[in-house]
Symmetry: D2
Subunit: 283 residues, 4 copies
Amino acid sequence: MEFWFTEHHTSGVNFSIKVDRQLFSAQSEIQRIDIFESKDFGRFLAMDGNMMLTEKDEFIYHEMIVHVPMAVHPNVKRVLVIGAGDGGVIRELARYETIEHIDMVEQDELVVEVCKKYLPVTACCLDDSRVDIIYQDELKFVRNCHDEYDLIIVDSTDPFGPAEGLFTKEFYGSCSKALKDDGIMVNQHESAFYNDDAIMMQRIHKRIVESFPISKVYQAHIPTYHSGYWLFGFASKKYHPIKDFGSTRWNARGLGTKYYNTQLHIGAFALPNYIEELLRDVE
Amino acid sequence: MEFWFTEHHTSGVNFSIKVDRQLFSAQSEIQRIDIFESKDFGRFLAMDGNMMLTEKDEFIYHEMIVHVPMAVHPNVKRVLVIGAGDGGVIRELARYETIEHIDMVEQDELVVEVCKKYLPVTACCLDDSRVDIIYQDELKFVRNCHDEYDLIIVDSTDPFGPAEGLFTKEFYGSCSKALKDDGIMVNQHESAFYNDDAIMMQRIHKRIVESFPISKVYQAHIPTYHSGYWLFGFASKKYHPIKDFGSTRWNARGLGTKYYNTQLHIGAFALPNYIEELLRDVE
Amino acid sequence: MEFWFTEHHTSGVNFSIKVDRQLFSAQSEIQRIDIFESKDFGRFLAMDGNMMLTEKDEFIYHEMIVHVPMAVHPNVKRVLVIGAGDGGVIRELARYETIEHIDMVEQDELVVEVCKKYLPVTACCLDDSRVDIIYQDELKFVRNCHDEYDLIIVDSTDPFGPAEGLFTKEFYGSCSKALKDDGIMVNQHESAFYNDDAIMMQRIHKRIVESFPISKVYQAHIPTYHSGYWLFGFASKKYHPIKDFGSTRWNARGLGTKYYNTQLHIGAFALPNYIEELLRDVE
Amino acid sequence: MEFWFTEHHTSGVNFSIKVDRQLFSAQSEIQRIDIFESKDFGRFLAMDGNMMLTEKDEFIYHEMIVHVPMAVHPNVKRVLVIGAGDGGVIRELARYETIEHIDMVEQDELVVEVCKKYLPVTACCLDDSRVDIIYQDELKFVRNCHDEYDLIIVDSTDPFGPAEGLFTKEFYGSCSKALKDDGIMVNQHESAFYNDDAIMMQRIHKRIVESFPISKVYQAHIPTYHSGYWLFGFASKKYHPIKDFGSTRWNARGLGTKYYNTQLHIGAFALPNYIEELLRDVE
């Protein structure tokens, strides 16, 4: 017997992980949630059949979506986290003692429950006393926020299905409004190697560019995502991710990381020409 | 019908490309050579069943193995290329008018013949008048070179089978001897995400460190290679890849590239912590 | 590297053969034709991506489609073969010295050419002096035949695409007309295990039942076809496949076979209840 | 996401079923037990990774292993069932009111428990009052039986791993001793299409031939087993499966079946020539 989880990166490109066994499968009101166990990637979470995270490489995604903005903004106190029910973003944020409050808005209570049970290393800090988990439609929640947050992290699933609304111009506008004047929004920005992915990435970028004066894209290598290459968006009203980068300040915090470091912070914004061209096309 | 080429990145991780048809298959004296055609990656070359290059992403590998050292060394005139029968390294080198002579040593004449026929975009410049192709065992050839080259590019297959000798301490020592006092050696340095790959990469790094006073590693994102993440070695007797980086000089050449640029040059040497640790372990 | 040919038996059932290399691929005016080489099934032919035959198990199909009617009809002199460009049906027919003439009508000349070159064991007898190959639309050809043949063998591809017309009521009516009063028509009757296949098989059966007074179905085990289980139709105006079975006469011919024998002839018409029910539903 | 269960029929032939979800997985003291759910085959059971049965086609196996001997022996009162923890053999036997007692010897209690829970259609009759389930090593149990049973059904897993002892000459000798003078032993006899399977099948047949005066082989079409074609052994001291076949008697029982019928009973013993040759080689 072999038992394989296969993700279609395109209709002609498959990425497959040999599964030892499935640990959980259920349909919530919002989506299907599956947990598998594998030798090479440890446990992994799929939502509506899309790879969300693996124990082996989730550190890359979560370090890059959290530490990049945290090393730029000098004084993050209130954070809004959109999605992120697996807890990985919260885990990285919780390491900053200077953060006072985190609102996490997640549509699907079952995701949180399942991740607490099956992915404890990722979900370890969801009970941190500074964290309020609000089970609500994220779009509706953000619409009602004004000038409240220093940092918004949009850790959504892909821009079709349940998370579709989190890629609209309206949503980015609401995020802008929900941020303080020096606030930063970071979002998962999809992949851009395969043609269909590139088009989707451009659409996202265009909408963010229209909503924020500063809008940059940075990269990381995440083996289990499309083409192993993932982008993040850095949008802000005031801070520039490189010019306002507080590398000394960040290093002084003494946070141990497995992927992120302050040299790589700068390198992450140095994109290949083919990506730069895709971005320029819609700027 | 579906017809798939599958590469095992580990025993439990498969990367599969849907093939439209196979264009060529033969066993040379040295290895099996296959050419396939696919929708997503165009044509691709496999040697002994290992993915060598695809039309879609070969530009990343070839730009990164050539332009990084060319942007550091101020005056490359004589180049030795090891392997590289597909012609991609030669194509990028041929763009530098200041290069006077290139020796390319390739074990397998059939590789060159097949790539000229089936991969003309990659193999386009193998007939450049500055290029001497020497069909010979690379190890033997390098043993007899002294103080001859400004740059050696080691574009080998993986460190088992025909290319095994190109990963030995003896070979790196010979390369050091074959270089002039300010020469640079760049080599494909394998991947380091999966455990078995990481061990192999460390072994390579250790041997190069022992042979060259300056030995750095840089990265690129290449979707069809293991985990989509590839490393290159930069070894030299004199030049440091960042301190001696001639970015203004390189930009003045006006070479259009699709991946490489001078910001990314610096970013490519900013490795994730987990890679830095693997390297430090053997330095 | 692994290189696999996969056939979808349903949207959720795959049958995959590891391929050593592809020997031929071309698009004729009518269909795509591919020849592959494998360790387990030898060479195999796919048409429009559907498995047609393999060197390893084609003997089952060809023996069963030819020897069953030949052991019933006492005096076959003129045979019409529809399709069958691979030559397997002709090879089995050619063993009967008493057959005087065979018309083979095949749409696609390239199939014959390719099979002669790549599948010589199957295509060995296409040059038999008794065989006329007519490259023409089969439906048109049969329309113009009257009272001419003792046996018609319909060795078509599947009932979609180029062979669609060979599964119509009109075609079966034309075959009936083209046969002499004691003529027999045998056709490949598709599979019936998976639901979609069963529906298609019933549709075929219904049309034949409406065109012939005697219409029976028989079975064989063919590993490379859907579910490993294949049906054949035996339709006739006079002869019953069991009551008129000339087993002594057939055994006296001394033809060596690898699958067919006269006990199995009877057994082949003893169908499982679930198949009998499917047939009764449309009789 | 796609999630596939793949069985290797040979090293170069895969049969794959798309899985909706895994329902159960555990390692008992004896073997690994998995239950999957699929659209095309319903639920299915794998033991040590080998496909054991699916809801969609188990009826074929269970009807053929039970009704064939039951239609030959005129008066079965005591039955010994070896293995068969899934309950399918018991379900078919339980339909015969004339059977007075069934001993079922199964090594692995967990199999029975799991099948009762997840495969209720198969395991429905394990609580029949005539059935004694004995959790014990089958080989040891049979060694101590003398002249006790009218019928022994050996429904074992494959002849490697836990069931290895059930394919030894000693085991068949013990079965012979455990049967009354007119007793019948029926066993699953593996497949014979692929070369490695054929060799194994011959080895089994040779040992049975040496232990019983009458030893015949019969066939069924089971899509989820190797090559879709499966053999059964019929061994006896007195009754011949065709000459002593009580078809009228069996039909009078009025048992509804989906695969087996009395014509097919005879047909099942009419084997292809290539199988007959394999058998003759070891007789």
